[in-house]
Structures are given as C-alpha cells and as structure tokens.
Symmetry: C2
Subunit: 277 residues, 2 copies
DNA sequence: CAACTTATGTTGCATATCCCAATTTTTGGT
DNA sequence: ACCAAAAATTGGGATATGCAACATAAGTTG
C-alpha cells in the first residue's frame, strides 16, 4: 500500500497516551478539540475517553474530560477507585491534627494525597516537605502553605522522588510531625511494597517529632517486603476502623494513639459509575 | 428582616465561593449539578462561572468548569494557548538535537515543556535533570527516560522549584546539554522576569557542555530584569524566526548557532479538519 | 413609596454533544 | 494475497448546553 503524505494517523495507544499527556498540562480537554487534533471523529475520541475513564485514568465530563486527579496519576491501581470515601475521611481527619505554623513532612501516596488536599482546602498555614510531586502541587495551590520538595530519582509509578539524595535532603530538616502512608499494617509492623519508598518513610519518621501513620483499614493484616516501623514505633495511627484480631491485639499492647475518623458526611468526589457493556 | 425557614438560597458571593471550594476537591463540576445543588437555574450558575472564568479562577468547559490550576497556573494556561504551534515546532526541533544516551538539564517553562513532551513522545533514551515538576512528570511517562528532580522551594506559579538548594543540586551534575527558555531576548542578552528563575538558568548554563536556548520569536526585543546570559554566551538558539533589527545585528556579530525550526508539519498537534456537520 | 439597580428566572432557538446501529476501513496474522 | 478481528467512520435521532432577549423579583436609595 502506498504511504500517503502528511502526518500519519496516530494509533489508538498513541492517542490515548497523548490524551493523558494533554491532561497533565491542562485540567480539561474537549472531545471536539482532540478529534480535530488527531484528525479523527469525535466518536473515536469518545471511545478512547470511555476506556480511559473506565480505567480511572481520567474523569469524563460532558463535552470532554478532566484530569482524574489534579496533578497527575497514572498507575495507581484500581485501588485508587476504591475506598475513596475512607481516604478522604482519613485525610481530612489527619488535617485536623495540624496546627497553624507547623512544619510537616508528607509522604507520597493516595491517602497522604487526600491529607494534602484537605490542608489546601482548609488553607492551613503550614510548611511542608514532601517527596511527592502531587502533594507539592496540590498543597502549593494554597497560598497559606509553603512547600519544599525533595530531590532525587523521579518515579513515574507514584509521581514521587526516591533515592539517597531524597533521604539526605529530608535528613536536613526537623519537623513537628510527619505523615506517612503504608501498603500494609500487621503484627509485624508497618510494611511497604514499593521499592525505594521504605527508605523515604523511615527517614521521615526519624525527622518528625510526631509520627502519624495514615492507613486505611484495607491494609490491615497485610505484610509486605520491607518493614518501615514496628508496631510500638507508631506514634499515631489515623484510620477508618479499629483493627481487630491479631493486629488489634498487637497494637493494643503498645501505647500508640489510634484515631478513627468518623464515618460522617464525605464532602466530595463521588465515583462515577462505569458504563456497563 | 425575618429569616424564613427552610433552605434559604445562597447569595451570589456564597455560591461563587462554594463553586471554587468544590473545584478544590473535584477536578470538574457540572453546571447542571451545581444548579440543582444550589436550587437555582442553570443560567445563574452559568453566569457565575462566566465571571469566575473571566477572573481566571476557573476554566470553563462545555457543560461545566474545571479547576484553574492543577499544578499550573492561569499564567501558564494563558501563555500555553498562544503560539502553541511555534512552541511545538521549537520543542520538536530541539528534541532532534538530543542523542540517545545524552544527559540533559531542562529548564521550567512553556517552551521547554514542549521540548520535554517531544522527548517523551519520541521515547528518547535520555537522562534529564530538571527543576520543573511538569517536565518531570511528562518526561517520566517515557519508559526510556530517566528523570532527576532538583529540590527546593516549590513555586506554584510555574510548578517548579527554585532557591539555593536547587542551584546547589544542579551544580552537582555535569551534562551534555542544557535546554533553557527565557522571557526575553534582546541586544542586552537573554533576560528573565520571574524571580528565582534567573539563578536556576545561570546554574544550568554553567553545568551544560552545550547551551541550547529555546526562545520563540515573540520574546525578541524584550528585556527583563535580570540577565541570564549575554548574546555571545548563547551556544545555540532554537527559535521559529530569524531575529532582525538591532537584535539580529547583535546576534550575528557573535558565533552562536541559530536554528530556525521549519514551519512544516507539526508532529501531533496539527489541526486538521474534523468531520464537518 | 417610587424609582432605580441588580440578581435571577423564563423562554425560544441555535448549536454541541451523546448514543446507537450499520457500514467501511484498517490492522494483523497465515 | 486472503481473511477475520479490530478500529474508525457515517448517519440520524434524542438530549444537553449555550446564548440572548425579555420578564420578574429582590434589594437600594432618596
């Protein structure tokens, strides 16, 4: 077949990638604009968006789509779509633990992200140090917040930086409190699955006068590769349900503070039902 | 005046505040939803949005509105809308100056952003060091790219970090080339308007074996507060039109390389006629 | 109270978007 | 080259949104 001149059409995967790229820079894209840009029909773009929306990579809107989460997200699992309400509650509750003028370290993660969003929403006057680009951007929206970002190797999976540079940087600051999430919490303590994040979390814990763990109850009983802290090293555990079983016993043997965020009204962000097929 | 019972209607200012609050938590709100929530007509919400949009507090979209700043700012968005084609051309052209395996420093800015997008799109195998969160995120999407981020004070206006920490960090790396943008280019040299960026750019220029300036022609003849480099310190100027007048003379007196990106096909952003109705 | 300003509601219509189904084109493998 | 699957286009009817002009209501001022 003879190649036609002019810009060859992008394939589906490329188009989808491009849509996500656009959404990283603009908060909203229109179906019609993208159709024109790609030289395809609006129907095609619509289909792309539907798939991306089902995958949780963006939010559909009438006439277009908006970024799934301000800033970016790419690879955060389907877990991102679950437990949104719980995470928001935890994040909001954790924000109430912060006083104006506090300095804090904020870990990267979906739950700590909600925490940062709550801080920005409430315009809390804080100085925050983080290794998460998303946290930096969300909290940076608040004119009341000062944000410092750690250096290091950029990790696409979580939109954060890791590595020795990051740890060294964090070690240079002493803060009132650190807020860290985790992939698992069991009798063995707090554990993390993502390579590189364990060191970051451990460093943050070392530098914070108060240690706040933000862990939703779905992580209870799960143990991952590397331990971030033992149970009795947990200062405060902010979660959405009381741990029970072996974990509950192990935790109650310690003197850590357990804060369960009330199940009251969740103030934002409902999940849009995926279209059935 | 006696307050009536029942849900009293919000006043205009309250409604507008509420809209902005919603947008802090959700990336997108719909006109119809808000109208129902406030018990007002869609027209009223539309009028609110129009005002807020004019004030730059949100971005209108068909059927609703999205947050004005998901990490970038209205400055950025506005500038992004202008000279898109030129910037894409410059960015793509600059990407062709990079060889696989190169290490580069990438400045924050709208033009360097396009450069990063081109690198990501073409899956170039590079190691990049940047102070721009957006550059990091966009380039981080490419599995072929390694990205390191500088530390420092987060600057919401440009979604980048600045400060002595950032400069010190950058000074620790020696790269094949640095790609920097600028707010102005005149006989006085390359100048920058944003406070804090000048030092970053100067540092990058010091660390790069090759110095590539990405400056579109709308910046020609403009002089801003702080000088980043004199004309003869420019290694390579990548732009979209040949400078003329005093600037052209000043530049041609030097031995710098001027690359004008061809006005031909734009790689992915070219607008072609969509399906007509 | 009347006149005035402002905010909001209402209506009609043009346009944009959505959804569906049938059809055509492209893709990918043998 | 051929076929089968996937992707994209086309056409059309149903809905949603935008816009502007006008009407109504609420608050302001003298």
């Amino acid at each position: 077949m003879v190649e036609a001149l002019g810009p060859k059409r992008l394939k589906k995967a490329d188009r989808r990638r491009q849509i996500l790229l656009e959404l990283r820079l603009k908060p909203h894209v229109r179906v019609s604009d993208l159709a024109a840009q790609f030289s395809v029909t609006t129907e095609t773009v619509r289909r792309d968006m539907e798939e991306l929306g089902d995958a949780g990579l963006l939010n559909r809107a009438h006439g277009g789509a908006s970024a799934a989460t301000p800033g970016s997200h790419l690879d955060m699992d389907q877990r991102r779509l679950e437990r949104i309400a719980e995470r928001k509650r935890i994040g909001r509750f954790a924000a109430s633990l912060v006083s104006d003028g506090d300095t804090v370290m904020i870990d990267a993660g979906t739950t700590t992200m909600e925490f940062a969003r709550a801080l920005a929403f409430e315009e809390r006057r804080v100085t925050a140090i983080t290794n998460s680009l998303q946290v930096a951007m969300v909290l940076g929206q608040s004119s009341a917040a000062h944000v410092r970002l750690a250096p290091g190797k950029y990790m696409q999976q979580e939109a954060a930086v890791i590595g020795t540079e990051a740890c060294e940087y964090l070690s240079g600051y002493n803060v009132d409190a650190c807020f860290v999430g985790a992939a698992g919490l069991s009798e063995a303590g707090v554990t993390e699955a993502v390579h590189g994040f364990d060191a970051i979390k451990r460093t943050m814990l070392r530098q914070g006068a108060a240690r706040r763990f933000l862990i939703d109850s779905s992580k209870f009983g799960r143990t991952h590769l590397s331990r971030v802290a033992t149970c009795d090293e947990i200062g405060t555990l902010v979660t959405d349900a009381l741990p029970d079983g072996a974990l509950g016993k192990a935790i109650r043997d310690t003197s850590i503070e357990i804060l369960v965020s009330p199940a009251g009204a969740v103030w934002a962000g409902e999940v849009r039902a995926a279209r059935s097929r």
